[in-house]
Symmetry: C2
DNA sequence: TTGTAAGCGTTATCAA
DNA sequence: TTGATAACGCTTACAA
């Protein structure tokens, strides 16, 4: 394994100082055409690639934005990352992505790992309560929390109107005549979970409907597992997100229940695949790509010291398809 | 925005040298209990987090592995990343993830960006021909190409037996009595696309069957679009991957074709969602998670200077479901 | 056992 | 216009 060549070797080959090489390559100061030519040739011939790490250390900025997500395989999360990445790449930033596998203990550790790498800002999707370390970090660099909200000063938030979305869903289901419900929730103390559950419970209590509630996480497996825990199959199974709904539908199919004739199933997120399940999933649409983009915009504004909203709330909308009886 | 505190401030507060602080925090040399205590306290109180960038520069290794993928939203690719990440995290490595959005021009640029960041190894999923720059990079750091193969020295490869998988699929479809075929391919000069197409064509020519071939990319949209380009709907539409198949099925549904009664549709990859479409997708299973893990293992072996296979070939298997008529 | 100082690969300041 | 040189924050010989 050959060692990488440094600016010093380029300088030697070109017969100039390292300062000149740097100036040519960054076009930071005027350099005479002859030397410029020499430097470029030497750099080319040696296949020189500047060490960005060393550069970052010296200039104090790395051109990297850190992103923490719970699960890279969940299309809703990766859609958010894509939204952010598409926006930030054009602005010259790279994304350093880490995933916590939904483990709140790892979240703190990973935030620190990001912080320690001279990242210029952090976008984070955090399950559970926001860790205290967010406060410390946010006093040193811009941080945007996505899909969560806790009103801490200095921290910014991007999230969807989860409560309103779930209320629309419940209004629709109730109007369709469903009487008994189950709620298969995401992580018990996530902001988004809590909001969705709150909307569910508010609707239920207004109607005096029958219901059963279970908690799991935002995965397909968890959906299957929660469905198995159900004491009885109600008219409608309202799920915390689409992945849970897919798991529930899969399990129901294996138990030979007919969706939506016997039981309605609904999701939340409206990921691409919700249009492709059997039957197609009725769900609440939230725009992950837009959330990621908004987070990217806020981060760049904060990095460049501009004022920015501390809170961006995105609308949700009901997508009625064939998994529900209405 | 407060500036970050450095090792120097910790040293001052503790009344010791920076060397001692470093030794305590890295447990690299014995330090007297009193000083150790002082250092730990000072570090705690200041909320000190070491600058990993500076550390990397000094010790020559960053603890980061770079990954380049075409599209973070495609579950097959993210499954590969997850396999690699789960393995590498435990070994103390972090993944620096960039995505090329399927743009071969960006691929080279991004590889360079990774290389310039003192990454210790690269795992890359590259569409199209492998860029020449791979050779240069591979002489400086370990690189593993995933889902592609080109037999270049010094480069290692992890890929599935695409040809064999598609042959099994075609054997099955032909035995089921299908006579006319269409192939909706992925990117024209990807290794995996080519192998799958080669198997398709070999099978077709042996049977003298009728066929039509279109090229696109590995996305849902491309699947829809290629289906619309079809001159006529054949007995079986064989797709380059699952995403293309989903797009094709969606379009067929809108055109009121009955899958599988009128036309069979098949995919390749067997992502999680293939079990959940309407109808459930017949496809060839390849294990993305295992590919990612294998890539991670090879990278670590290479990084630590051990010998490793230059080629890992994973088996594929036929998953017959309801989207095909057999 | 601890501290001093050099050095990792850059860029920025200061002289020349 | 160009070149020495210090500095970014850290680790590690080498000295004490």
């Amino acid at each position: 394994m050959k060692s990488k060549i440094s600016i010093r070797e380029v300088a030697e080959k070109a017969g100039v100082s390292t300062a000149t090489v740097s100036r040519v390559l960054n076009k930071s100061l005027y350099v005479s055409p002859e030397l410029e030519e020499k430097v470029n040739r030497a750099s080319q011939e040696l296949g020189y690639v500047p060490n960005r790490l060393a550069r970052s250390l010296r200039i104090g900025s790395s051109g990297m934005i850190g992103f923490l997500i719970p699960d890279i395989v969940n299309p809703f999360f990766s859609q958010i990352v894509k939204g952010a990445e598409d926006y930030l790449r054009v602005k010259g930033y790279f994304i350093f992505l880490v995933s916590s596998s939904g483990d709140p203990l790892k979240e703190e550790e990973l935030l620190k790992a990001l912080y320690s790498r001279n990242i210029e800002g952090i976008g984070a999707i955090l399950l559970g309560e926001l860790p205290e370390s967010i406060k410390a970090i946010s006093s040193h660099l811009p941080i945007v929390i996505i899909d969560n909200y806790q009103d801490w000063e200095g921290v910014s938030y991007v999230f969807s109107d989860n409560y309103d979305g779930m209320r629309k869903m419940m209004d629709y289901l109730i109007r369709a005549g469903n009487k008994s419900f189950a709620f298969l929730s995401g992580p018990v103390n996530t902001f988004s979970s809590r909001e969705r559950l709150r909307a569910f419970e508010d609707a239920i209590s207004e109607e005096n409907s029958d219901c059963e509630i279970h908690f799991g996480d935002y995965t397909f497996e968890s959906g299957r597992e929660m469905l198995r825990r159900l004491k009885r199959i109600p008219n409608a199974i309202v799920c915390g997100n689409d992945m849970i709904a897919f798991g529930a539908m899969m399990e129901l199919a294996e138990m030979k229940y007919d969706v939506p004739k016997t039981v309605s199933v609904t999701g939340f997120d409206d990921i691409l695949f919700s249009r492709m399940t059997n039957p197609r999933l009725t769900t609440v649409r939230q725009d992950g790509y837009a959330m990621g983009k908004a987070a990217g915009e806020m981060l760049l504004r904060k990095i460049s010291g501009q004022k920015t909203n501390s809170k961006v709330l995105l609308k949700t909308s009901l997508q009625i398809r064939e998994s529900s009886n209405g």
